[in-house]
């Protein structure tokens, strides 16, 4: 004998991932560091950007990287060469990092160093414009990259990623003279789906625009890790 019942759950489908993400974030708060989740399609220039940015900010910030990669450790090796602690997270068939993978990465990081000594933890996600947008890992802010070679329609085709991003970098702008794209159109499409985003136009190879981006990273990290300084100034 069965009696028909119905329970209203109203649960988030991603609740299991979100619980783990919140747990990761509690660790970040305890360590007083800022965590940035860097996402883009494959080849948009995440690793090249991080090479430049980490080198430039190394005198001012203590940083480490959790490096998501489906199969290889090539990106992790490139970033280690810059002189920063890197934990590679090989995701296998998964096309994104999830909160549990990042939690595993954090345990490995703790074996190498004391995370409380860090100011900024970069999470370089797997190259993909779709899934990473839905899988929080505990980051404070999301950074999305879009290279000019990908075309100006991508923010409209992959709107969730660009909507969720707090900061969007239009990369490889040094190639603009050779391409039939207008950077203004790319930026307008980003702003159409996300009017509140902070947008930078950069080139990791020429260095164009990097200074403003680095300043943003520095200011955002300082504001997060030393709120008391702001309070004193105010």
């Amino acid at each position: 004998m069965h009696m028909p019942l119905s329970d209203t759950l109203g649960l988030n489908l991603m609740a299991a991932n979100q619980h783990q993400a919140e747990h990761n974030r509690e660790h970040f708060e305890a360590w007083n560091l800022l965590c940035l989740n860097v996402m883009s399609s494959p080849g948009a220039g995440k690793t090249s950007l991080l090479e430049r940015t980490i080198t430039a900010l190394a005198p001012q910030l203590e940083m480490a990287v959790l490096e998501g990669d489906m199969t290889t450790q090539l990106d992790a090796q490139r970033l280690e060469a810059v002189g920063v602690p890197v934990v590679p997270i090989t995701t296998g068939r998964a096309c994104h990092l999830d909160a549990a993978m990042v939690s595993g990465g954090l345990r490995q990081l703790q074996a190498q160093l004391n995370p409380a000594d860090l100011d900024l933890l970069w999470v370089e996600n797997v190259g993909n414009l779709v899934c990473p947008a839905e899988f929080e890992v505990g980051e404070h802010l999301k950074v999305a990259l879009l290279s000019v070679t990908e075309g100006d329609d991508k923010p409209l085709k992959y709107p969730v990623m660009f909507r969720e991003a707090d900061c969007v970098l239009i990369t490889k702008v040094d190639l603009l003279p050779y391409l039939p794209v207008e950077v203004e159109r790319i930026e307008a499409h980003i702003r159409a789906v996300n009017p509140g985003a902070v947008v930078f136009q950069v080139s990791a190879s020429s260095g164009a625009g990097l200074e403003a981006w680095h300043q943003w990273v520095l200011t955002t990290t300082r504001a997060h890790t030393r709120p008391s300084v702001l309070a004193e100034v105010g």
Binding site: M1, H2, M3, P4, L5, S6, D7, T8, L9, G10, L11, N12, L13, M14, A15, A16, N17, A94, C95, H96, D98, V130, C131, A133, E134, F135, L156, K157, P159, V160, R163, A188, H189, R191, A192, V193, N194, P195, G196
Partner: protein, 130 residues
């Protein structure tokens, strides 16, 4: 195929719910989801992976019912709610403003579960009075 990982998340949430029913084991007829159009989830792929994932488990025989929720945004110029169109760059047709406030379409929700509980003659007190 991130729907595989989403299905895993869904199953974990359902297992948690099942623990709340102990010592009885609910027989689930249907799981109702709300999936917004402005998410990275393809309902068809979710149905497919769910059917494959529950085979041989306590959820075997249950169906996944997915209600899709359309994307709607509120124009902050005139407060009108509109259906953003990718071909119009999601801008509001009334005031030509960017998509500022999303009203619906981001849902990824387990709305409800239809199930039955077997009567347990050994411990009638365990049968909830609903």
């Amino acid at each position: 195929m991130h729907e595989v990982d989403m299905t895993k998340c869904l199953l974990l949430s359902l297992q948690e719910w099942k623990r709340g029913q102990e010592p009885l084991t609910p027989v689930v007829a249907a799981v109702h989801l709300q999936v917004g159009d402005f998410t990275c989830v393809e309902p068809e792929a979710l149905r497919f992976t769910f059917a494959a994932a529950v085979e041989g488990t306590w959820l075997d025989g249950s169906t996944l019912e997915i209600d899709t929720v359309p994307l709607r945004a509120r124009c902050l110029g005139c407060s009108d709610v509109y259906a953003p169109d990718p071909d119009q760059a999601y801008r509001s047709p009334c005031c030509d403003r960017p998509m500022e406030e999303i009203v619906s379409g981001r849902e990824l929700r387990i709305r409800s579960v239809d199930y039955s509980l077997p009567h347990q003659t050994s411990d009638p007190a365990a049968v909830p009075s609903r």
